[in-house]
Symmetry: C2
Subunit: 332 residues, 2 copies
């Protein structure tokens, strides 16, 4: 099939490419789904409807942790292990951008070079531009597309503490929190709210001089986790150590995830969790549609720039400008 | 004036109370503005329109930093200094909540006890519940209300690294990043994207054994900041040390902010920055209105619960449910 980045394919062509596992078409489809253009949205909706129920067998894994904990190197090492177990792996990154420069906070360094070359891996290091008008990253849709393309392990990587963990929790089956030994609990944001969102904690960089400290940290996190009430699904969060440098501990983490998947699939919580996530997705899809409908509305479009200029010059307040635009939108 | 928390006041009563500096009515007005109820929104809009241009003389300060850096103790010490300079201070906290428990990530500890008792301080430790349907915290409106009530220094405190700094940058005149000495740059998320958003860095807990390390950290951050291009407004980010425990360094930080305000007011960037923020606010007000209009729509309301149940049970996909609700909303 001949295609260029600029030519739009039909929904059928996208679907055929995705189902055939074509990584180029998969990447194009994710870009399409993220687009706010009216023409793109129609095609995107047709594709998403077709791929909505193909992820039954996949495992969606959230990997979080503060900058410096070694997320990229962990994912590279863990990813290669997972692929060695005959799995196909997708890595989607949620990366808050700098609104000042448009640059990425995660940095411009080349990430996961080896994994990116592996034919059984698909890496999407997209930055969610926090543009005016709010282009939200469509990670849920990207997950579905990857699953339809045959990727059965999906890692969603995010940076930071707080809000991002909350958001990722709504997208994944299993949530892994990476921690460093000896860095001080407080500094790592290891508060109740964050720890209770993790299904497991992996202490990274447990090699060389760090081994002893990592084992100590493991014990202290285990003790801390025991203080929390048992989750409804009956899972007791685990703590492990690992070294991406030495490729150690990855088997233990993967086996733990398989155990989790097995347990949850038999007690019904796997399906229940995904159903609850569907509800969150419904609300988020509604909000994204409302926004897109608004900014694509021709009455709004015809005056938006003028009004934006007035607001930016201070000749109209934000509040009255918003009211004016909304009344144009609803008048149609 | 007699009022209870449950009785709604008229817009005029709210306004009179706010302009008289009544802290109870101010708190009630912020709650009103955050409400998604149709009746509340009408009154809230009337109030906000009246207070939109009262913040000319205020200084809006963002205080960010990872958990454990000592934000609350810093703000308590800094706040008391600012009040000693004949200012009235408001502290608004943006605190991502745990969706699992509804609990606050910042923790339930009593915060800023002394400051809270000060008649010249108003503290709003609100948690932004990330509820389904997306209730967004209306921090901009809260800022305007505080300014109208005579508070001329507004501190917006937020937790975490990444997304939250970006969001706060759009609300404030001056952005202060708190850092700990000797904790490792990487661990503190001290990436280019975050540092370039700060107008100053204050190294906290510079007391006792920490003094020497804090001075060293100050030098190394100063060197790092010199590598960045000079901002359009001509301001060179400053690095200072301080101790909330000993109430040291607060005068230096406050004077730096006054210098910044003076410089920016004379070179025009103060006004320009606020105008750009107005634009961001316009977009955010539009999105919040669209959401509220949708969830308040009577056609949507009449079926929402049924459809939510179907989605949660897995008998309808999120995507098709969203489409169905949107078509009900637009049909009216």
């Amino acid at each position: 099939m001949a295609y260029t980045k600029k030519n739009r394919l039909t929904a059928e062509e996208y679907l055929a490419g995705i189902l055939a596992g074509d990584r180029v078409i998969l990447a194009m489809a994710i870009t399409l789904v993220e687009s706010q253009l009216e023409e793109d949205r129609t095609i995107a909706e047709a594709i998403i409807e077709q791929v909505s129920n193909r992820g039954e067998k996949s495992i969606r894994i959230g990997v979080t942790g503060v900058p410096g904990v070694g997320k990229s190197t962990f994912i590279e090492s863990f990813g290669e292990y997972v692929i060695s177990q005959n799995k196909k792996l997708s890595v989607l990154a949620i990366d808050p951008s700098s609104t000042k420069t448009g640059g990425s906070i995660l940095g411009d360094k080349t990430r996961m070079e080896n994994l990116a070359k592996n034919p059984n891996a698909f890496i999407r290091p997209s930055a969610s531009r926090l543009a005016l008008g709010g282009v939200t990253h469509k990670t849920r849709e990207a997950v579905l597309l990857c699953e339809a393309a045959g990727f059965d392990v999906i890692i969603i990587e995010t940076v930071g503490v707080g809000q991002s963990e909350v958001a990722v929790r709504e997208l994944v089956d299993f949530s892994l929190l990476l921690m460093l030994a000896g860095a001080g609990d407080e500094l790592q944001g290891i508060k109740k709210g964050i720890m209770e969102m993790a299904d497991a904690i992996a202490i990274t960089k447990a090699d060389g001089d760090n081994v002893l400290m990592s084992e100590q940290a493991k014990k202290s996190y285990q003790n801390a986790l025991h203080l929390f009430p048992v989750a409804d699904n009956g899972w007791l969060p685990k703590v492990t150590t690992c070294s991406a440098l030495k490729n150690e501990g990855m088997d233990e983490i993967w086996n733990m995830m398989l155990k989790f998947a097995g347990d949850m699939r038999s007690n019904g919580f796997w399906k229940e969790n995904r159903n609850v996530q569907q509800l969150a997705w419904m609300h988020s899809a509604i909000e994204q549609s409302l926004r897109a409908d608004f900014y694509n509305d021709k009455h709004v479009k015809s005056v938006l720039e003028t009004i934006e200029n007035q607001v930016q010059k201070g000749t109209q307040t934000a509040w009255s400008a918003a009211k004016q635009l909304l009344s144009l939108f609803y008048k149609k």
